[in-house]
Amino acid sequence: MSNRSPWFWLFLSPVVLSLLLVVVVPFVYGFLFSFTDWNGLVANSFVGFQNYVQLFQEAEFLNSIWFTVKFAVVTVLLLNAMGLGLGLALLVTRSIRSNNWLRTIFFMPNLIGGLILGFIWQFIFINVFSDIGNRIGSEALQGWLSTTSTGFWGLVILTAWQMAGYIMIIYIAYLENIPKELIEAAKIDGASSVQRFKNITFPLVAPAFTVSMFLTLSMGFKIYDQNLSLTNGGPFNSTQMVAMEIVRTAFSDNEMAYAQAKAVIFFLIVAVIALTQVFYNKKREVEM
């Protein structure tokens, strides 16, 4: 199909049109509007970098970035450790009957939306935790989600529970591709299980690492539904992440141009992290 063939354009036009109208044009418009006093309908004047200057002075926005970064770092580490751990454990125990059931169960929360899961966990953190706390006489289980740190860990626990099964599936897919002969050969050569993991398994699952790092990082930065339903940003907006900050600025405070400037910064953060990360991990991968 050459460039001049009408079929080429016919086949391409529906997606090009939708990508253009849904992503590209709004993205470019948004970028331009972030330098104006746009109110969602009209922009009266060009204000230069005023929105950007303002957002770097707004404590709430800076706090949401910091909270999101902390959240993303903790969940990326936790999810990859859990995903790899569960994946390895399920692979070793492949012969056992319960194995298939466990895989099914660990993956299950993934199919249900973050909004609904957040509501369910709100009940668990508030009512179930305090019930257990009363029974065992522990103060630490009382008042969850009412402080910034319990809100933070609540979000981490919810996300880990929801996503670990997904990351596990990715690791299993790559672990299963490691040729058994390699492991056998190393065994015969007298390598211990730690050495086998460190020198064979780990380098060969590097692509899985790239994929799950990419997925968990971008998920950690973009998370919204869980944030809305579990803590709703509270107490006092201290657990509000960047995505939610932008939605609030736009649709509760009606400051469209200002919210769009935040959205541009958000894009830059996500893009820079994603690209560096993929570039860095690609370099380390082993060719088979």
Binding site: M1, S2, N3, F11, L12, P14, V15, S18, L19, L21, V22, V24, V25, P26, F27, G30, F33, G40, A89, L90, V92, T93, S95, S98, N99, T104, I105, F106, F107, M108, P109, N110, L111, I112, L115, I116, L117, F119, I120, W121, F123, V128, D131, Y166, I169, I170, A173, S218, Y224, S229, A243, I246, A259, A263, V264, F266, F267, V270, A271, A274
Partner: protein
């Protein structure tokens, strides 16, 4: 000796796995048992089983959620969006894959690069643009899902198409098929495994999506997550009703999962590996 030790380790791992599996299921257990309780019963304890199997909460929640209507809206929007994502993405991927020009490469790059843009970065102008032409409705939403969903789908189809020999194209053309017939009768059926993957990945996303429908659809056309949000807002602190409503939304998905788990897990793992 050595065998025995390995056996023991394996057994230990199994016990650990089962305990972890039960912990994983605990939230669902807590949701369901408490959905059967009265407000008073929840107040006196949330861990145990309910005194009676009282389905009153479910009936009330089912009505308040106008569940059949929300279910219908969710099914309609998900199936139509996925159908057009599958059709148009596979067509586009085919055109891009069978054209080795620079322009084709540029298009492919733009589609992949678009995946980097977070939804919040385009959300505000998008809603304003579609609002100004009165497209904040179900058809508008489906069109938006095509725009947001096509990148990953094109990427997956593009990879799969590389494995389909061009000789097939040539043979069909010689037999007198035009490009669309060739695609529809020869190529598209061969793409079925990847179409299943594309459908699964998109259905998990679209079925559960909350933010975009909340900005596009009114309460009258609400999908399940959207309706759940309104419902939950009304019944904060009335956990017996809220949990019954959540159970109603969760249980059909879990039942579906148990029937299609193999396809779902394979689909997700294919999608990530490619």
């Amino acid at each position: 000796m050595r065998r025995n030790k390995e056996r023991r380790n394996l057994l230990g791992l199994e016990v650990f796995g089962i305990v972890l599996g039960l912990i994983w299921l605990a939230p669902f257990y807590l949701m369901i048992v408490n959905a059967f309780k009265t407000k008073r019963e929840i107040f006196s304890g949330v861990l145990g089983l309910p005194e009676t199997l009282n389905i009153g909460n479910f009936i009330q929640a089912f009505e308040e959620l106008t569940f059949l209507k929300s279910l219908f809206n969710s099914i309609l929007i998900s199936t139509l969006s996925i159908a057009i994502i599958i059709l148009f993405s596979s067509m586009a991927a085919y055109a891009l894959n069978r054209n080795k020009s620079k322009l084709s490469g540029v298009f492919f790059f733009v589609f992949v690069a678009a995946m980097l843009i977070p939804f919040q970065s385009v959300m505000i102008p998008l809603i304003s643009m579609f609002g100004s032409v009165n497209m904040l409705n179900a058809p508008g939403l489906i069109f938006m899902y095509l725009g947001f969903g096509c990148s990953l789908s094109i990427f997956l189809y593009h990879g799969a198409l590389t494995g389909i020999p061009k000789a097939l194209d040539e043979a069909a053309i010689i037999d007198g098929a035009n490009r669309f017939q060739l695609f529809w009768y020869v190529i598209f059926p061969l793409l079925k495994p990847i179409s299943v993957t594309v459908a699964i990945l998109n259905v998990i996303w679209i079925w559960n999506d909350y933010l975009l429908p909340s900005l596009v659809l009114g309460e009258a056309n609400a999908t399940i997550p959207l309706k759940m949000f309104y419902f939950f807002g009304q019944y904060t602190k009335q956990w017996h009703l809220a949990l019954a409503g959540l159970s109603i939304a969760v249980i059909p998905v879990i039942i579906f999962y148990f029937f299609a788990q193999k396809q779902i897990i394979n689909g997700v793992s294919e999608g990530a590996v490619k």
